[in-house]
C-alpha cells in the first residue's frame, strides 16, 4: 500500500505468465492494434 506498485488483478498476473508467441505472429499483431484502441478509451 505504498505509492506504487499496487496489487495486480489475478487476470493480469495470469496474462503475465502466458506462454510467449512471436512478435510478428498475426495474433500478436492484432493484439497490438487492440491495445492501441483500448488505450484511447480511458486516456
Amino acid at each position: 500500500m505504498g505509492p506504487e506498485p499496487s496489487d495486480a488483478h489475478p487476470r493480469v498476473l495470469k496474462a503475465m505468465a502466458s506462454p510467449l508467441i512471436g512478435h510478428l505472429d498475426p495474433m500478436f499483431v492484432s493484439m497490438m492494434d487492440e491495445v492501441k484502441a483500448l488505450f484511447s478509451k480511458p486516456f
Partner: protein, 149 residues
C-alpha cells in the same frame, strides 16, 4: 533545427512507426509478455467502467481518511487538492515513523511509503490504487496499526 537521434532506443518516431499498423517498420522486438497483461488490464478497467472505478477509489479514500484521522493521523494536503489514491499523512504525535513502518512490513507484510525530501521521516504515503483500492486493504492496514501502536 532538426537532427537525427543518435540513440535508436529513444527514437520515438521509429517506435510510432512500429506500432502504426499492418505495415510495421522494425524498431525493436515487442515485449510480448508485457503487452499481454497491458491488454488484459485495459479490458479489466473498461469492464468495471471508468466512472465506477473513480467512485470506488473515492469511497475507499473516504474510508481510509476516516480510519486514519480517528487514530491521530493528519493529512498533509488540504481537502480540495487531495489525490484519492495517494494519501500523504503525518503520523500521530510522538510516533517514530521508520520503526513502525518496518514493523508493518516485517510482521504484517504491508508496505507503506515514507516521506521524500523535506518530508523524510515525517510522513507516510499510503497508496490505494487499482486492485489495492478496497476497504479490505484499509481495514488490514488499520487493524495492523491498532496492534502496533
Amino acid at each position: 533545427m532538426e537532427t537525427c537521434l543518435a540513440n535508436l532506443f529513444l527514437d520515438l518516431t521509429m517506435v510510432k512507426n512500429y506500432w502504426a499498423g499492418a505495415k510495421r517498420a522494425y524498431h525493436h522486438t515487442a515485449p510480448v509478455s508485457s503487452v499481454f497483461p497491458r491488454h488484459e488490464a485495459l479490458n479489466i478497467v473498461l469492464e468495471e467502467g471508468l466512472e465506477t472505478r473513480w467512485a470506488r477509489h473515492q469511497a475507499v479514500h473516504q474510508h481510509l481518511r476516516t480510519q486514519l484521522e480517528k487514530r491521530g493521523f493528519r493529512f498533509l494536503v488540504d481537502k480540495p487538492y487531495r489525490l484519492p489514491n495517494l494519501n500523504a499523512v503525518f503520523l500521530p504525535e510522538g510516533i517514530d515513523e521508520a520503526p513502525l513502518r518496518s514493523k508493518l512490513l516485517d510482521q504484517f507484510n504491508i508496505e507503506v511509503g515514507g516521506g521524500l525530501g523535506a518530508f523524510a521521516g515525517k510522513l507516510w504515503r499510503v497508496g490505494i490504487m487499482g486492485e489495492s483500492a478496497t476497504k479490505n486493504h484499509v481495514n488490514m492496514l488499520t487493524s495492523a496499526l491498532d496492534e502496533l501502536m
